[in-house]
Amino acid sequence: MAIRRIMYIIFLLATIWIFIVYVDYSALQLFVSMIIIPAILDIMAFIASRNVIAGLELKDIYVVKKKSVQLIVKVANPSILPFIGAMVEIEMKDGFGGNTVNKKLKLNISDREINKFYLDMTPEYCGRIDISIKKFKLYDFTGIWSFKGKIDKMVQLYVLPLNNEEQINVIPRNNEYIEEPVKFSDNEPGDDCSQVFDIREFREGDRLQRIHWQLSAKKDETYVKEFSMPIDASAEILLELAFSSNNEVLRNVDAIIEKAYGLSVAFLEQEIYHYISWYDCKRGEIVRRDVTSADDIWNILYEIYHTSLYEDVAALQLYDGISYGNGVYLFYITTDENTVVKYEPHKIYVVGEI
C-alpha cells in the first residue's frame, strides 16, 4: 500500500505540473480526474466496508498433532462492491503463552456473498491454540486507502498428543506388586467401595448412594460411608509444566504432555487406577485428577491446556507437602534433570529438548 501511495503522490504531482505548464483542457481533465476518481472510489469503499465482517471457523476443534486441520477464513461482504484488496492478519497463539505466530492473508473479496478461504494448518505440538483475527483491513480499488473491517470472535483449537506405543511397558509391574494385598490410604478417602474408610455425618454434596441407611435409622441422623483409597495399586503421573531454561518451551511441554498421555493410556489399558497431577500456578496448588476412563483423560487434557506455565517453582517440591500415603507409584515427568526433590518419585522421566 505504501508503494501505491507513493505512486499516487508522484502521479498527482505530475498532473499538477502538467496542469500548470500545459494550460490545456486535457491537463485540467487529468488533474481533476486524479483527485476526484480516487476520492469517489475511497468513499464507495468506505461505505461498503462498514458492513464487511471477517471471522474464523475450524472444521474440527480437536486435532491430533501433526495432522492437518482446515481453518476457514470467512469474510461476509453484503455490499454490491467487490474488494480487490483485503488483508486479514491471523494470530495463532499457543495456550501456554509461549509463542505467537502471525500470518497475513491477502485476499480479494467478492460482492454479495460470504467469501470462504480454506487454509490447511498442521500443528506441530499438542496444546491449545487460540486463533483470532488481529487485523482486518479493506483497501479501496486503487489500493491507496484502507479501512478497518469488523472482526468476529476467535476460535480455539485443541491439539491432542500422539499415543506412543513404546510406553506401554514402562509401569513396573512385577510379581510382588501384583501379589501384595490391596492397601488403602490411612489419610485420605477414595472411591474403592470394597473398603470403608470412615463414617461421618451427611454433608451437602454427598452422594445418596453413600448414605448408611441402617446407621441413619438408628441414630436418627443421616450418616454416610466414606470409602477408602486403594493406594497400593494406584499410580500417579506428575507433570512439571514449568518454563524451561532453553527456548524450546513448546517442544518441552509437548513432550511432557505426550509422555503423560502415553502413560495414562497405558495404565488404562492395564486397568490400573491412577492419577494425573500438575501444579496450577493460578490456584497455587497441585491439582490432582483420577483417571478411570478415556473421557477422563480428555477432560484432564482440557484442564491442562487451560493452565499456565510457571517458573521458580517445582511441582515435585510442592508435592512433598501432600500426603497421599506411601503406596502410590509416582511418575514424575520433567524436562529438567537437575530438579531438586524432597520426595523421591519412583520413576523420573526426563523428556523434551534439554
Binding site: M1, I3, R4, I18, V21, Y22, V23, D24, Y25, S26, A27, L28, Q29, L30, V32, S33, M34, I37, I40, L41, Q70, L81, P82, F83, I84, G85, I90, M92, D94, G95, N99, V101, N102, K103, K104, L105, K106, L107, N108, I109, S110, D111, F117, Y118, L119, D120, M121, T122, P123, E124, Y125, C126, G127, I129, F141, T142, G143, V159, L250, D254
Partner: protein
C-alpha cells in the same frame, strides 16, 4: 505448537478455476495498452492520413492471437509466439513501407522539435509512395509488436511497470514536445491507468501463493468485476467533467499550445505528396454539398473530380444554381426534407380555396409564386431550355434552375421521378438575368402592383411560406442560438425585417458569417449528441457551405424572412471555360413579349466538386431567391462577380477540396476566425468509434457468458434430475463423446470387459468400475421403459463421468478441453 514456516497451506482444489471474465478483462487491458498510447501519439503529433480501422483491428487480432498461444502454456506454443514476434520484426525491417512510415512519423516529431526548441534539423526525405499507407502499416506494426510484449508480460500476472513504461514512453514524448493529448485521448489514458491499477501489482500475481509471512489468495474474476466498475466510474466522471467544464469555454491559450497552430502548417508542408487515393480500406467518399440535409457527418470533404451531370445550357450566362434537396424544418443535426404529406394541412387549405391541383407540386418547387405577368414587367426575361443528364449526382432529386417552368412531360409526379432517372431532363426556365434591385430594393416590392397581379393562390402560398419557413424558428434551435440571433435584442445585433430593409438584413447575415466564421473543408465530424448549429456558431466556427447555409437560413428566419436550406449543384463561369463538352447552336428563345431569337447552347460536364448548399429566401412577388452566404462564393444569379480575392478562392476551390487543409479563404475572415480559434475537435469521432467497438465487444462477451452459464445450469439440472434414467442416458451420451475425444470408440460386438479395459487404460482406475458403469448403460439402453434406476446407480454414473472429465482434462489439448467444457457443458467438479 505450530511449526513456523509453512504453517498454513492453501488447498489446491480451491481457486484453481480460470474465469472467462478475467481473461477478457485482461485482453481488453492489453488491447488498450497497445492502442491508447499510440492513438494519443498519432493525435498529438497530428500524424493524420492514417487509417484507424486497421490499427484497431491489429491490436484486437494481435492480442487474441498471442493470448491464444500464451494460454496454451506449452513450450512449443511459446516458441511459436516468439517466432511470430520475430517474423513481425523481419517484415518490419525489410518492407519499404515501414521505413517510409518511420521516417514520416519521425518527421512529425522533428517538426515539433524544431518549433519547440527553435532548431532547424533537416527533415527526412520521403519516397514517392503512399504516405497514408506507410504511416498506417508502420503504426500497425508497432501495435502488433506491443501486443506481443504486453501479452507476454501480462498474461499470467499483470505487470504494472510494463504497462507504465510503454505508456510513459509515448506520453512522455508527447509532453516533452510541449503537446497534450486531446480531451478524449486523455480520458482513455486515465481510464487505462485506473484499469491497470485495479488489475495489477498487489492484487493479481496469481491465484494463490505464499511469500514470506503473507499468503495470497486471489481471484481474478473479482478484479475484473472491480475493473469494470472503476472503468465505468472513470468514464462517467470524465464525461460529466467534459459536459460541466466544456472545452468551449476553456481558455487554452497556454504557454505551449501555440505550437499546435504552427504544427498544422509545418506538417502540411512536409506532406507534399498527395496520395490519398483509396487507401487500405478506402477513405470517405466524396459527398460534396449533397448530404440529403444530414449535417455534420463528414469529417473532411473529399472529391474525386468525377462527373456529376452533363448539362446543356445557354452559352452566355454567369452560371446557374441547380436546386436539388430542399430542407424545411431544422432539427438538431439535419434538415427535414419537404414532403407532400408534411404539408397536407396547407394543401387542404389550398384546396378549399380552389387552387389545389397544380399547386401541390408547385408548392415544392415554389415557382408558382412567381407571377409571370408581374415578373415580365421588369428587365430581361427570356424563356430558355436546359437539358440535364445525371451521371454521378444523386438521382433522388430533381435538379432544376431557378424560375424553371415544368414542361408537360413532367406534370405527373411519379412519372417525373422515373423518367428523370433513366434519361435526360428537359427543363424550360425563365432566365432572369436582371437588375438585382428587383428584389433588393429598399421598398416593398411591387406593392403597387400587388392588388392587381398577385393571385389568390399566391397569397395563400405566401401565408404558408411565412408559417412554415419562418415562424416558430425558436422551437427548432437551442436557447443559445435564440439568444444570439433574436433581432434587436440578440447578441448578433440583427434587425427585424419590416418589408423595407431586406437588403440590410441580408448584409447583416453575410457580414456576421464573414467576420466570425472560417471556410474549411475539414471541420471535423459533429460530436455525438451535439447540435450542429451550436457547434458551428459557438465551438468550431468553421465549416463548408452546408454550415454557412444552415446558419444563414436560421438567421433569416430569425429576422422574419422566410428562408430555407437548399442543396444542389452550381454552374459557374469556370465551367464554361474548363468543362465544355460541346457547343451547339440550336435553339431559339422566346421572350414573354413575343420576341424570338437564337441562343447558343453549350454542353458542360459538371463535376462532383460543384455540389453546393445555399440559402433561399422568399421574396413576396418573386418567390424563392438564392442567397449566397458561404465565404468566398458569389451569388451567380445576382450577376455579381467575385472580387479578386474571392475569384481566387472560387477558382482554387478544386485544389482546396483535394488538399483538405489549405484554408486559403478570405484573409479577413481567416484572421478574425483565428482570433477565436476553438478547441480542436475533429479527432474525437475516431475515439468514439474505438469506444463503440470496445463496448460492442464487451456486450458480446456478457451475452456469451450469460448463454454459457445458462447451458451449465441446464446440464446441472439434468445431472440431478429426479428421473434417474434421464440422468443416466445423459451420462451415457457424454461418456461416449469423451471417449471419442480420448480416442476410444466401441462397436456393438465389443465385450463389456474389453470396453472397460480400454477405458481403464485411458482414464485410469479399476476396470470393475467401468464394467459396472457400462452395465448400467446397457440396462438403460436395452431395458424396457418402465425399468427404474436407483439413486445409487445415478450417483455412481455421475461420479464416474466427472472422474473421466477430470482425467481427460489432464491429457487433452486445449481445444478438446474447451470442447468438453463449452460444447458438452461439463465443468470439472469442485473437489472439497
Amino acid at each position: 505448537m505450530l511449526k513456523t514456516g509453512n504453517v498454513l497451506k492453501i488447498p489446491k482444489s480451491k481457486y484453481s478455476k480460470n474465469s472467462v471474465i478475467a481473461i477478457l478483462y485482461k485482453m481488453l487491458l492489453i488491447i488498450s495498452g497497445a492502442l491508447f498510447p499510440i492513438l494519443a501519439f498519432i493525435q498529438a503529433f497530428k500524424i493524420d492520413r492514417i487509417f484507424y480501422v486497421p490499427i484497431v483491428l491489429t491490436a484486437i487480432l494481435g492480442t487474441i492471437l498471442f493470448a491464444l498461444i500464451m494460454g496454451s502454456k506449452r513450450p512449443k506454443y511459446i516458441l511459436l509466439l516468439v517466432i511470430t514476434f520475430l517474423f513481425g520484426l523481419i517484415i518490419f525491417y525489410y518492407r519499404n513501407e515501414f521505413k517510409t512510415g518511420i521516417l514520416s512519423v519521425a518527421n512529425s516529431v522533428l517538426t515539433v522539435y524544431n518549433i519547440y526548441f527553435n532548431e532547424n534539423i533537416v527533415l527526412f526525405k520521403l519516397e514517392d509512395i503512399n504516405i497514408a499507407r506507410c504511416n498506417t502499416m508502420f503504426v500497425c506494426g508497432i501495435v502488433f509488436e506491443l501486443s506481443f510484449v504486453l501479452v507476454a508480460g501480462s498474461w499470467y500476472r499483470v505487470r504494472v511497470w510494463l504497462h507504465g513504461v510503454i505508456t510513459g514512453i509515448f506520453v512522455g514524448i508527447i509532453l516533452i514536445m510541449g503537446l497534450m493529448p486531446s480531451a478524449i485521448m486523455s480520458m482513455l489514458l486515465i481510464l487505462y491507468l485506473f484499469a491497470v491499477a485495479v488489475a495489477g501489482g498487489l492484487n493479481t500475481r496469481s491465484k494463490r501463493f505464499i511469500k514470506g509471512k503473507n499468503i495470497y489468495v486471489m481471484n481474478d474474476k473479482i478484479n475484473a468485476k472491480a475493473g469494470i466498475i472503476v472503468v465505468s466510474l472513470v468514464l462517467a466522471v470524465n464525461i460529466l467533467l467534459m459536459s460541466i467544464i466544456s472545452p468551449v469555454g476553456y481558455n487554452r491559450n497556454g504557454i505551449l499550445n501555440n505550437i499546435e497552430k504552427e504544427l498544422d502548417k509545418k506538417i502540411e508542408e512536409i506532406k507534399k505528396i498527395d496520395l490519398f487515393e483509396g487507401g487500405l480500406f478506402g477513405g470517405d467518399k466524396a459527398s460534396g454539398g449533397m448530404s440529403d440535409g444530414v449535417l455534420g457527418q463528414t469529417d473532411t470533404l473529399k472529391y474525386n473530380g468525377d462527373s456529376a451531370m452533363k448539362v446543356t445550357v445557354p452559352k452566355d450566362s454567369d452560371g446557374f444554381y441547380l436546386r436539388g434537396f430542399v430542407g424545411g424544418k431544422y432539427s438538431k443535426n439535419k434538415w427535414e426534407k419537404i414532403t407532400y404529406d408534411g404539408e397536407s394541412y396547407y394543401n387542404s387549405k389550398l384546396s378549399q380555396s380552389g387552387h389545389w391541383l397544380s399547386f401541390t407540386y408547385d408548392l415544392l418547387r415554389s415557382e408558382a409564386a412567381v407571377n409571370e405577368e408581374f415578373a415580365s414587367a421588369y428587365g430581361k426575361k427570356l424563356q430558355m431550355k436546359m437539358i440535364i443528364e445525371l451521371t454521378g449526382a444523386d438521382k433522388e432529386y430533381f435538379y432544376a434552375p431557378y424560375f424553371a417552368k415544368l414542361s408537360n412531360y413532367f406534370t405527373d409526379i411519379d412519372q417525373r421521378v422515373t423518367d428523370k432517372i433513366e434519361g435526360q431532363t428537359e427543363i424550360i426556365f425563365t432566365d432572369y438575368i436582371v437588375d438585382k434591385d428587383y428584389y433588393f430594393h429598399d421598398y416593398l416590392i411591387a406593392e403597387d402592383l400587388m392588388d392587381n397581379v398577385v393571385s389568390e393562390h399566391q397569397s395563400v402560398y405566401e401565408y404558408f411560406v411565412k408559417e412554415y419557413y419562418c415562424n416558430g424558428w425558436q422551437d427548432q434551435v437551442s436557447d443559445d442560438i435564440e439568444d444570439e440571433f433574436t433581432p434587436e435584442t440578440g447578441r448578433a445585433g440583427f434587425s427585424k425585417y419590416n418589408g423595407t430593409n431586406l437588403k440590410i438584413c441580408i448584409e447583416q447575415v453575410k457580414n456576421y458569417l464573414a467576420e466570425n466564421m472560417e471556410y474549411t473543408l475539414s471541420p471535423g465530424k459533429l460530436r455525438e449528441g451535439q447540435d450542429f448549429l451550436d457547434e458551428f456558431i459557438f465551438v468550431k466556427k468553421k465549416g463548408y457551405c452546408s454550415y454557412f447555409a444552415t446558419a444563414a437560413t436560421i438567421m433569416f428566419r430569425a429576422q422574419g424572412i422566410p428562408a430555407r436550406y437548399v442543396e444542389g449543384y452550381i454552374i459557374t463561369k469556370e465551367d464554361y471555360k474548363e468543362n465544355v463538352i460541346k457547343g451547339e447552336k440550336i435553339e431559339q428563345y422566346i421572350s414573354f413579349n413575343g420576341d424570338v431569337g437564337k441562343v447558343d447552347y453549350v454542353q458542360l460536364d459538371i463535376k462532383d466538386y460543384r455540389a453546393h448548399a445555399w440559402t433561399e429566401i422568399f421574396v413576396e412577388g418573386f418567390g424563392w431567391i438564392p442567397i449566397e452566404v458561404t465565404t468566398g462564393y458569389t451569388n451567380i444569379l445576382e450577376g455579381e462577380h467575385p472580387t479578386t480575392a474571392q475569384q481566387q478562392e472560387t477558382t482554387t476551390k478544386k485544389q482546396e477540396q483535394t488538399t483538405t487543409k489549405n484554408q486559403n479563404t478570405n484573409p479577413t475572415t481567416t484572421a478574425s476566425a483565428a482570433k477565436k480559434n476553438p478547441v480542436e475537435l475533429k479527432d474525437y469521432t475516431i475515439v468514439f468509434k474505438v469506444i463503440g467497438i470496445m463496448l460492442m465487444v464487451v456486450i458480446m462477451i456478457f451475452v456469451m457468458t450469460y448463454l454459457i452459464r445458462l447451458r451449465f445450469r441446464k446440464i446441472d439440472e439434468l445431472l440431478s434430475d429426479k428421473n434417474a434414467r434421464k440422468t443416466i442416458d445423459f451420462v451415457s451420451d457424454r461418456i461416449v463423446k469423451i471417449n471419442k475425444l480420448m480416442g476410444i470408440e466401441f462397436v456393438n460386438t465389443d465385450l463389456v470387459e474389453d470396453k472397460a479395459r480400454r477405458m481403464s487404460e485411458k482414464f485410469g482406475g479399476d476396470e470393475v468400475k467401468y464394467i459396472t458403469l457400462l452395465k448400467i448403460f446397457d440396462k438403460s439402453n436395452y431395458a424396457p421403459d418402465e425399468t427404474q434406476f436407483s439413486e445409487k446407480e445415478k450417483k455412481f454414473a455421475v461420479n464416474v463421468l466427472f472422474e473421466c472429465v477430470s482425467e481427460a482434462n489432464k491429457v487433452l489439448v486445449l481445444r478438446k478441453k474447451l470442447q468438453i467444457k463449452y460444447i458438452y457443458g461439463l465443468k470439472e467438479k469442485n473437489s472439497l
